[in-house]
């Protein structure tokens, strides 16, 4: 017989209705836009988006005042019979980040997707899907029940897939179908795990499950299936076959949403599952495996990013690497008592997610402006672009700097927290991965900036207008990410120390110089394109010394690219999906 339900959050808290509003408002926007038709779709979006931002901010304020999670019981039925919506610090931080990114993308997209006489379908679809993605993401962030999370994840996928193929080109249609099919495999695995858990415990409520769940073989199998399914949707290496074509092929505004927000949805469910449903279950081996996949994603994604010819593909592969970065928190949160602790590492991981969401969206938006201005986005053809499109390049640079983890960006605070956790748990190898990851990020950012800032002997003709508002949206978003270190995180996440005190001094300088120098080195070594950094005559000697290293590194890069080609075949990816499920199951069984 199951123990009686604990009397936790059995009532709706006073500001709990805000959680319902955060879901209902975007969904109402979608329905209204459908009813009113394409003439009013922009006005509906203009009305709904500020309202949604206000709701997210109100939730943030209410949560930091009440100090305990907001709860809303749908129909006043308490779990296990009813469904609860909950918002803790993690959800509130992500809700706010989502709202900010959606607003910036909406401002950016206003120029691209205004409904004109010639083009009606794409703008109409874009605005509806933007609101749908927002509604689905908010549901994921406040859903308190594993099945609600399943439905919300599916809604998110259904809203994200058409965004990929908005312009209807055959390549993007193929990318969309691959994305949809692989995401469906992932969600079926998740649903299978949910069915098994329901069969065992008779509830899917996160709080109730966390009290009742035990290390039985069946529940471990369920956990392994759910984790693997979610990894497929998050595109963690080696399950990333759908991500680069989908994120690089979509229009810039859609790429910003897909890369910045959509992958965070399934990532957030993994965090809920591991940290809140079953913090005692995974064990050492499974957390290390998750971290190892993250490390492999960092190396693969960054090396491939350095070998891309096109800017948007470079950013897409950078997303692949940054997703890997997010998973480093799992081994670091694992403490000596065998539990996943919600401390520094979790705060660091979430901060990384927030800062990546803002920075990557800004990066895609800046790349979109550059593409629109030049008519192409070949990295080697970017010379002199800083003169004609200074704002776009500035936005890209700020976003890149934020992503590199230069102080005071959110990524730098996240890196500090993760490094602290690595020292505390004595897992030095993750500290090495963290530092290498920072250098690799710097490498591809520096590569693009070096090409963009290089002077060009011929003048560049802009193919399209460069609306200033668009660049401002990207710039503001990049600045948001860059200044995240100043935000008082304390009521939401456990950021243990005064982060502003260590901005200056020799330690901070070393922290800045190490990744930058390492990154420049890696950019020179790993990029196969003629590099503006080394091609000038002054550097002849250095070039001669470096050449053998460079050839070795290029061979390594070629090897990685060929390996990626194999892994991106459908059969290879789905077999690695099954292997991962087996591995996670086996490791959890061993630990139990």
């Amino acid at each position: 017989m199951l123990p009686p339900a604990p009397a936790l959050d059995a009532t709706t808290t006073p500001s709990g209705f805000l959680l319902v509003l955060s879901i209902v408002v975007p969904v109402m926007g979608v329905l209204l836009a459908f009813v009113l038709g394409n003439r009013y779709v922009r006005s509906v979006a203009c009305a709904v988006i500020p309202l949604g931002l206000a709701i997210a901010v109100t939730i943030l304020v209410a949560l930091s005042q009440s100090k305990s999670p907001l709860v809303y019981l749908l129909g006043a039925w308490p779990p296990p019979l009813g469904v609860a919506l909950r918002a803790d610090g993690l959800s509130a931080a992500m809700l706010a980040a989502t709202a900010v990114v959606i607003c910036a993308v909406a401002v950016y997209a206003d120029a691209d997707f205004s409904v004109t006489a010639t083009e009606i379908r794409a703008p109409f679809t874009f605005w509806i899907l933007l609101l749908a993605v927002w509604g689905a993401l908010n549901t994921i962030l406040v859903g308190g029940d594993l099945f609600t999370l399943y439905v919300a994840l599916e809604l998110l996928t259904f809203a994200a897939v058409p965004l990929v193929s908005l312009d209807g080109r055959p390549e993007t249609l193929r990318a969309a179908i691959r994305y949809l099919l692989f995401a469906l495999v992932g969600s079926v695995l998740y649903l299978l795990g949910t069915a098994i858990l329901y069969g065992l415990y008779g509830t899917l409520d996160i709080v109730l499950l966390s009290h009742w769940i035990g290390a039985e073989p069946t529940s471990l199998v369920a956990a392994a299936l759910m984790t693997t399914g979610l990894l497929a949707k998050t595109a963690l290496f080696p399950l990333h076959l759908w991500l680069p074509p989908a994120h690089a092929g979509a229009p810039a505004a859609a790429s910003a949403i897909l890369s910045g927000l959509v992958v965070k949805g399934s990532f957030f469910v993994i965090v809920r599952l591991w940290f809140q449903v079953m913090p005692g279950l995974p064990g050492f081996g499974a957390t290390q495996l998750l971290g190892a996949l993250g490390a492999a994603a960092i190396v693969f994604g960054s090396v491939l990013a350095l070998r891309q010819e096109r800017l948007k593909l470079l950013i897409a592969y950078s997303t692949l690497a940054q997703i890997g970065y997010l998973f480093l928190m799992f081994p670091l949160a694992f403490d000596a008592s065998g539990y996943l602790e919600s401390g520094d590492a979790l705060a660091g991981g979430l901060l990384q997610a927030v800062s990546h969401a803002t920075a990557k969206a800004a990066m895609f938006m800046a790349a979109g402006s550059i593409y629109a201005g030049l008519g192409h986005d070949r990295i080697t053809g970017l010379h002199g672009v800083a003169r004609v499109l200074p704002l776009s390049v500035l936005a890209f640079a700020f976003a890149g700097i934020a992503l590199m983890g230069v102080q005071p960006s959110g990524a730098s605070l996240a890196k500090d927290l993760l490094l602290q956790a690595a020292t505390k748990t004595g897992q030095w190898w993750w500290a090495v991965v963290l530092q290498t990851g920072g250098m690799l990020t710097t490498a591809y950012v520096v590569l693009v900036l070096a090409h963009a800032l290089a002077s060009s002997d011929k003048s560049i003709a802009l193919t399209g207008p460069a609306p200033r508002l668009r660049d401002m949206a990207a710039l503001v978003l990049a600045l948001c990410s860059l200044l995240l270190g100043f935000v008082p995180w304390e009521p939401l996440l456990s950021v243990p120390y005064d982060s502003t005190s260590s901005f200056f001094g020799p330690g901070a300088l070393a922290k800045l110089l190490l990744p930058v120098l390492g990154g420049v080195m890696l950019a020179i070594l790993l990029s196969p394109w003629p590099d503006p950094l080394v091609s000038s005559a002054r550097w002849k000697v250095a070039t001669r010394v470096l050449d053998p290293f460079r050839r070795t590194c290029c061979a390594f890069g070629g090897l990685v690219q060929r390996g990626n080609g194999v892994l991106c075949q459908w059969p290879a990816a789905s077999i690695s999906l099954l292997m991962l499920a087996l591995l996670f199951g086996a490791l959890m069984l061993v630990a139990a």
Partner: protein, 113 residues
């Protein structure tokens, strides 16, 4: 062997066959059908779960039925979306091949944006 066990084994078989189809079939339409078979297996498992609740004396558990109905709706929408995308691909290119001639990494796509 009780009825519940038989249904449970059927669910496992459907899930296995669906997975096999998803991995091995190169044609997207067959992949979609395999996904539906896989989904049916999971829904059958939910049915078994509800029935087992009844065996344990808690009455016929209605919650899994509600979950299955929601799941069926979701799977139906997924199928519809996949078919719509596939039809559109067929209309624009005249084939439904997903295999991209170039590997996704080398970026030879001339018209990105």
């Amino acid at each position: 062997m009780s009825g519940v066990t038989v249904f449970g084994l059927c669910a496992a078989a459907a899930v296995g066959l669906g997975f096999y189809g998803l991995i091995t079939n190169p044609q997207p339409l067959r992949k979609i059908i395999a996904f539906n078979l896989l989904g049916s297996g999971v829904f059958l498992l939910f049915g078994v779960v509800g029935r087992r609740g009844a065996v344990a004396g808690t009455g016929n558990d209605p919650v899994p039925q509600a979950l299955v109905i929601t799941g069926v709706v979701v799977a139906f929408s997924a199928t519809a979306l996949a078919i719509a995308l596939l039809l559109r691909l067929f209309q624009t290119t005249g084939s439904t091949k997903l295999s991209n001639r170039t590997s996704p990494g080398d970026g030879s796509d001339p018209a990105g944006g």
